[in-house]
């Protein structure tokens, strides 16, 4: 089941609709448009596929067919802390799959999925270009080199603790309560 669009996502998609009007209706614009939408809301919800189909005057299944062909496009929202585990050759040789498994086990999701609270998502990526640090995982923007299964737990825990702390702060700072 795909999650419902949030109000924020809906308003972004409304903006996208306006932006689309500026883009020509050539077929060769299909992939750039999909990339543009994904850069705005991080994935391609069904509504967006329909928007693009309307704009280029092709069927939604045609758009979907192209989008699913390419690894870049995703169809469910990534977590606030997207985890990317490198499955490049050097990382594979040094046990990248073990790292991926540990994330999957710890977060109780499979690669390509997002946790129900939308906090984490896990995906595999090809060489991120720091093979000398293999195995590598990226969380958010930060690259973590020389990963070990035991480091996985620490990383996840750190994010969760940080979040709890923020929530407590927020409650404290909310006046009148």
């Amino acid at each position: 089941m795909l999650p419902e669009l949030t109000a924020e996502e809906k308003s972004i998609l409304d903006d996208v609709k306006t932006d689309l009007a500026e883009i020509s209706k050539e077929r060769s614009k299909l992939i750039p448009i999909l990339q543009f939408i994904q850069s705005k809301i991080n994935y391609l919800p069904q509504v967006a596929i329909n928007l693009v189909a309307d704009h280029l005057d092709i069927s939604p299944s045609e758009v979907y067919g192209v989008a699913t062909f390419y690894n870049q496009f995703r169809f469910n929202p990534p977590g606030r802390n997207p985890v990317k585990v490198c499955m490049g050759t050097a990382c594979h040789v040094r046990g990248g799959d073990i790292i991926l498994e540990n994330f999957e086990r710890k977060l109780e999701i499979k690669e390509g999925e997002t946790t129900p609270d939308r906090e984490f998502s896990v995906e595999r990526v090809a060489c991120v270009g720091c093979c000398a640090l293999a195995p590598v995982a990226i969380m958010g923007e930060t690259v973590h080199g020389h990963m070990q299964p035991s480091k996985v737990e620490g990383l996840v825990l750190r994010v969760r603790i940080e979040k709890e702390k923020q929530e407590r702060e927020k409650q404290k700072n909310e006046p009148g309560k």
Partner: protein, 648 residues
């Protein structure tokens, strides 16, 4: 097309050059230390941003006046993040420091920049010859390389076009605009330059074919799709010296008569996309792109198209389909793209490295280029050497150097006293070569003869702990997912190859599997349209050819000799060695499979164990009690004692 207006191109170029040189002189003459930091993706991944911030912070804190100069990548990944500190007042030559963490950055600012002590223990070498500090060119990792394409990578700031121009950049363009396109194509043909995208087709010939078509509307595409999951030289070049690629593109477009060009770069390379886009903008502003380039009658526009991450889109016909807005499926050739390419127009497609090579070839002449490398493969090759080597990274070597020299002399050999087992060359299309073939010279033809190929330039070195069956399975898993699905043999054949390999690595191999792997591989090669299918079985075929023992041990004895295939191994704890009361392995186990035996030693619950090997690493070396075995039956079974009842 007319050879362009002579006077103009030179005078316009000279004006740009003078301005750029003045700027550089001002930078060099400023009497403060310079800190050069490598900031390509690899450097950033290793923490270069933090290092830079730490320098900025420390400079302010210690009130030291110095300039931070961000550069691209020099390819020495083992040393990232690296910095070069040029501090003339200290009396020392410019010094190359490796693995500069934020802590080291603070320390170097204080002790070296402020107090003049270069901290010898952190020095990798000096960048010029001198009496005090070993010169980096005395190290084989530096002096056995031959930098033709990557000469400026890691020396200049890729985000500043003036730095490229001050280093002679775009002067070749200014020159060739005064020569006829035919002359340029002849020079490239004479140089013997072969495409660096994998297949090694003659670049001059390709250009000639395109130039000779009667159609007027022609296009040029720079292929920076780089889909090999373990290679990153094209990205490094784009991020470290984008203008050399652009200069090569403009020259190519002029030679073949194209007025529109596209850089096809994968979206997974955001920094490369940003840098090349910015470079195009800068070149346009200086009149090096756009209308009447350098005052000549030649026009060219370059756009960036972001590839969306499909390996097959590196293949030229699939790449074209994807720009046109369709699924990237390969088509039959001929017609080749030089006849019918993007939107049906004649299109030259060249790799990033090929286009970047064009510049030094034309500035130094074809005879100079032919002196480098071998008769049939002139020039240099760039490899990303990764895996089990001491000094991984990008290496540019003259063609003809042997694999042994590259792996053992330049990259420092295998770490940790392990033995060399195999080297995988050319990524998913390449092959696994054994020790006996280490004396093979690196060039297009010799590598193809061994069953591997130059391919993308990815090179993975593997030590004795690597299983060649598993590596084949890894690459097949990749190509199987990346097959575009057009050809039945590629789509279904790779699936079957993969499932057989999966079975073997799980210990479910059967008699006849080897024969079937061979047969299927041949069928896939013969039955596929594009290079993906034609080369996908290479990893399997080469490992079958050179490492048949590995396959047989898996199939017949259900054993993985390298102890890498997890279903075929087990870990156990040697009770004679285990120290009573030590809990190192308990804390690190991600699945709580380690338990206490009745006498407070440890045991492993084989059912829970996921075989991550963490306990083996955690067990203190003085005990060394965790033992890995294959087949798994060799591990003695230890019953988990019932949980002790907690006292209230």
């Amino acid at each position: 097309m007319n050879p362009a207006n002579k006077v103009h191109t030179n005078s316009q170029y000279n004006a740009l050059r003078q301005k750029a040189e003045k700027k550089r002189q001002a930078f060099l003459n400023e009497p403060v230390p310079k800190i050069h930091i490598g900031m390509a993706t690899c450097g950033i991944a290793a923490g270069a941003l933090d290092t830079k911030a730490a320098f900025e912070d420390a400079l302010a804190r210690h009130s030291v006046n110095a300039r931070i100069h961000t550069v691209g990548c020099i390819g020495h990944c083992y040393a990232e993040p690296y910095v070069i500190i040029d501090h003339p007042d200290s009396g020392f030559p410019p010094i190359f420091y490796h693995e500069v963490t934020p802590g080291k950055a603070g320390m170097l600012t204080n002790l070296f920049l402020k107090e003049g002590d270069p901290r010898f223990e952190h020095v990798l070498g000096a960048t010029v010859q001198n009496e005090m500090i070993p010169w980096i060119m005395d190290f084989p990792r530096f002096n056995l390389e031959k930098r033709v394409v990557m000469e400026k990578c890691g020396r200049i700031d890729p985000e500043d076009i003036d730095e490229y121009i001050a280093e002679d950049g775009y002067s070749t363009l200014a020159d060739i605009l005064q020569r006829s396109p035919e002359e340029i194509i002849k020079e490239i043909k004479d140089s013997g330059l072969r495409g660096r995208g994998g297949a090694g087709f003659s670049t001059g010939r390709k250009w000639e074919l395109c130039a000779n078509t009667s159609q007027n509307d022609k296009l040029l595409i720079c292929n920076a799709d780089e889909g090999d999951p373990g290679a990153y030289m094209d990205r490094t070049i784009l991020e470290s010296n984008p203008h050399q690629v652009l200069e090569g593109m403009i020259i190519c477009a002029y030679a073949v008569g194209a007025d529109k060009a596209i850089v096809y770069v994968r979206a997974e390379y955001p920094l490369a996309v940003k840098i090349i886009t910015q470079a195009i903008q800068q070149a346009k502003e200086l009149g090096l792109l756009g209308h009447h380039i350098l005052g000549s009658s030649f026009d060219l526009d370059i756009d960036v198209f972001q590839g969306s991450g499909a390996f097959v889109c590196g293949e030229e016909t699939a790449l074209i389909r994807s720009i046109e807005g369709f699924r990237g499926m390969a088509r039959h050739r001929p017609p080749y793209p030089v006849e019918r390419g993007l939107w049906g127009k004649p299109t030259v497609i060249n790799n990033v490295k090929t286009l970047a090579t064009v510049v030094p070839v034309l500035s130094n002449g074809s005879a100079w280029y032919r002196e480098i490398g071998t008769e049939n493969s002139p020039g240099t090759a760039i490899f990303s050497v990764v895996g089990n080597v001491v000094h991984p990274g990008l290496v540019e070597i003259p063609m003809g150097v042997t694999l042994r020299t590259l792996i053992f002399d330049i990259c420092g050999g295998i770490p940790g006293k392990k033995k060399f087992k195999a080297v995988q060359i050319g990524g998913p299309s390449g092959g696994c070569l054994p020790e006996e073939l280490l004396d093979t010279p690196i060039d297009f033809d010799s590598l193809t003869e061994t069953g591997a190929m130059m391919g993308s330039g990815g090179m993975v070195v593997m030590d004795e702990d690597t299983c060649t069956v598993d590596i084949s399975r890894y690459f097949l898993d990749f190509t199987q997912k990346e097959s575009c699905g057009k050809c039945t043999f590629c789509r279904i054949g790779t699936f079957h190859l993969l499932s057989i390999l999966e079975r073997i690595t799980k210990g479910e191999g059967r008699d006849g599997d080897i024969e079937q792997l061979k047969q299927l591989s041949e069928d896939i090669k013969n039955g596929s349209l594009c290079g993906l299918g034609k080369t996908a079985p290479n990893p399997v075929l080469t490992s079958l050819r050179y490492f048949i023992d590995d396959y047989e041990a898996h199939i017949k004895e259900k054993r993985c000799p390298a102890m890498m295939c997890r279903p075929l191994i087990a870990y156990y704890i040697d009770l004679d060695k285990c120290a009573r009361g030590c809990d190192a392995c308990v804390g690190c186990c991600p699945v709580e499979a380690v338990f206490n035996t009745s006498n407070r030693k440890k045991g492993i619950d084989q059912i829970l164990c996921v075989k991550c090997g963490e306990c083996l690493v955690a067990c203190p070396p003085e005990y060394d009690a965790v033992i890995k075995v294959s087949p798994p039956e060799l591990a003695p079974i230890l019953e988990r004692p019932p949980e002790p009842v907690k006292k209230a």
